[in-house]
């Protein structure tokens, strides 16, 4: 891209300083990972680290969790405006998790620390992290049957957690008294605080090395650079209005499906995402705050056309996200919304990337991925220690096939980018025993580039009781295939009560409204749970798949020998190798 700089900072300096800023965020992230108490930090990496300008606008981030993009762009500006720029002092740290003040959902806590140079406020260091337990009606704080935000845990407007570098003990005591696992919260909040201190130290060193004026000029210029780059990429799209629709099967309270409708307007070098015709907000927690709809929209756009653009507040300038308060896309207080971040966001991204922009950018689109976090929450008293434990567990799914490759196996949804929790960590921290943790190879969507496999996990209760909850979707709508590819598979949450061998759905066994959303079910020793995450859809006609790849799929257990012929139109010999002449004849006979 040709870029004319608007300031005295040349392109080389801009690049170097920006990369240094990103490196600071990376170091902050490593610090959090290594010092956290909860596996959702140390293993899942469910957090972001940020550098923001003096007004709270995002300058650089570690890019670990794209789902936090909207909050990264917006929440800190709320804090700065609410507190007032003149009211920050050296050593202050604010904490905030309010989805009605720019947060994504309440488990995600944002901390910001002001940075002063010669007595002047020049920047903020920040992070956002998903706390594993924040109280509320269900252990793990992901209540699928919550009907208002007050049931979802402790809601914090921007409040001082540290003043002059000292903990504000009243606030700490309120927080820790409302979390079920205060020891973990204590450790994780300190991990966040520690990463802020590292970020501040490195940024001050950069000011000393490079000069405050140069670095703060980069703060401004890098946003301009991103804005120009994004406008250029938008201008390359054909002007027009593109429509899409996505449905959620239920909200955990009623069996009513909820629809999101998007009209995406490409107008010169600007894009407007108009969600205003979406359904009214749900009673249950599948709603999204405004910033979650912003995250979904910007992330989809970045995946499709963003290339290597630096992520910062410049992204917001050529793009407008338009919603209507009181709809599923912009929940109105006191609506519950914890599932918006994990279920709504990836599905809206998928809709934009597939149904809306896919037809005009077929090389960049994908078939649908599993795109549920398959949130499975549990808690109780650990018989080994007598302590309360709670965990927010998310499951990997299969991704959709793409124009040039198969979908990823067992990967978190693209919006989240998190890692799984290893079985060894799982069993050492909580009273479960794994019986099975495998790829669901036979369930992938067929195609020229097939979908990736979801996972099947079977775990047995190893305590007298465990209280479990779940929040997912896609029990009846499989990930769709694209351009002739087949659909993927469905979410299944099943139980085999102690003493039985067969599995039945939680919905059937416990007579639930929803197959994927429930709260506070007590399981007992010996009960087994089977979680099956969706596999991705296929891309392109199966008959066009390379016959060598089809042979490998048979060996690897993705398809049977018979399916190689019936679906992929490939004839394999007795050793499992493709017979090219017979295959060509069969495919010709099929008319493709």
């Amino acid at each position: 891209m040709t870029t004319k700089m608007s300031s005295e900072v040349n392109k080389v300096t801009l690049t170097l300083i920006h990369r240094q800023l990103v490196n600071i965020c990376d170091e902050m992230a490593v610090s959090m990972m290594r010092t956290a108490y909860s596996p959702i930090f140390s293993e899942g990496l469910d957090f972001s680290t940020l550098i923001l300008d003096r007004e709270g606008y995002l300058i650089a981030n570690a890019g670990l969790n794209p789902s936090m993009l909207g909050a990264s762009l917006y929440a800190a500006t709320w804090i700065v405006r609410e507190v007032g720029a003149g009211n920050f002092a050296e050593g202050d740290v604010y904490v905030h998790n309010d989805p009605y003040r720019g947060g994504s959902h309440m488990p995600e806590h944002m901390m910001v620390m002001p940075v002063f140079e010669a007595g002047e406020l020049v920047a903020f260091i920040g992070n956002i992290a998903h706390m594993a337990e924040i109280g509320g009606m269900a252990p793990g704080s992901f209540a699928a049957t919550a009907t208002d935000v007050y049931q979802e845990g402790l809601r914090l407007p921007p409040v001082l957690l540290y003043r002059n570098g000292e903990p504000v003990q009243d606030i700490w005591r309120i927080i820790l008294s409302n979390h079920r696992t205060p020891k973990d919260s204590w450790g994780d909040l300190h991990a966040m605080y520690g990463s802020l201190k590292i970020g501040k130290r490195r940024l001050l060193q950069m000011f000393a090395d490079r000069g405050l004026d140069v670095v703060t000029q980069v703060f401004s210029d890098i946003q301009d650079y991103t804005e120009r780059g994004l406008r250029e990429k938008i201008r390359a799209l054909p002007d027009g209005i593109y429509h899409g629709e996505e449905w959620f099967e239920d909200d955990g309270i009623t069996a009513t499906p909820y629809g999101v409708r998007l009209s995406l307007i490409v107008d010169g070098d600007e894009i407007i995402f108009d969600f205003t015709r979406s359904d009214p907000q749900a009673d249950g927690p599948i709603n999204a705050p405004y910033v979650v709809t912003m995250s979904a929209s910007l992330n989809a756009l970045l995946y499709m056309i963003g290339g290597d653009l630096p992520v910062n507040a410049g992204l917001n300038r050529p793009v407008r996200i338009v919603t209507k308060a009181g709809t599923i896309c912009c929940v109105r207080l006191p609506g519950s919304c914890v599932g918006g971040q994990t279920e709504y966001q990836p599905r809206i991204m998928e809709m934009i990337m597939g149904k809306v922009l896919g037809p005009i950018l077929p090389e960049m689109t994908t078939a649908a991925s599993g795109n549920t976090s398959l949130n499975f929450l549990f808690g109780g008293l650990d018989p080994r220690t007598g302590d309360y434990y709670a965990h927010y567990h998310f499951e990997a799914t299969g991704w959709g096939g793409r124009a040039h490759t198969d979908g990823n196996n067992a990967t978190m949804p693209p919006h989240a980018n998190c890692r799984n929790t290893p079985v060894e960590i799982f069993e050492s921290r909580w009273p479960w025993i794994h019986e099975q943790y495998t790829l669901a190879r036979q369930e992938v969507g067929h195609g020229e580039h097939r979908g990736g496999a979801g996972v099947v996990r079977v775990i047995e209760v190893a305590a007298e009781t465990i209280t479990v909850s779940a929040l997912s979707d896609r029990a009846s709508q499989a990930p769709w295939g694209a351009f002739g590819g087949g659909d993927g598979s469905l979410t299944r949450i099943e139980i085999s009560p102690a003493g039985r061998t067969d599995f039945v759905s939680f919905q059937e066994h416990f007579r639930l409204i929803s197959p994927t959303k429930f709260t506070n079910i007590r399981l007992h020793r010996g009960d087994r749970v089977r979680l099956s995450s969706p596999s991705g859809g296929g891309y392109g006609l199966p008959e066009k798949r390379d016959s060598e790849l089809v042979a490998i799929d048979v060996k690897d257990g993705y398809i049977t020998h018979d399916q190689a012929t019936s679906i992929y139109r490939v004839i394999l010999d007795e050793k499992g190798r493709p017979d090219d002449s017979l295959t060509i004849a069969l495919r010709k006979e099929s008319g493709r």
Binding site: Y100, I272, T323, A325, K355, P359, S476, W480
Partner: protein
């Protein structure tokens, strides 16, 4: 058509939303008149955005009622598998 202050006592925890985009209103808002209706916006340029949206929205297709299907490919807006 002017900026207005959003005055609230410190103990008021209610939330206000932009009439144009749904975003939160913080401390102040841009007030403008649209065919006799007073709207509150989070940005000044939302007034022109509102006018642009009205013309775009005239071209939107009507909303069709949905019955959930277990077969997704045909719903995706992308070409489906040929039977």
């Amino acid at each position: 058509m002017s900026w207005q202050e959003l005055r609230k006592p410190w103990h008021d925890t209610s939330v206000d939303y932009c009439d144009v985009c749904g975003n939160l209103l913080i401390h102040n808002y841009w007030e403008f008149d649209s065919e006799g209706e007073i709207l509150r916006a989070c940005r000044q340029d939302d007034e022109s955005l509102w006018a642009r949206l009205q013309s775009f929205r005239e071209t939107y297709p009507s909303i069709v009622a949905k019955s959930l299907s277990t077969r997704q490919s045909t719903d995706a807006g992308l070409p489906a598998i040929k039977e």
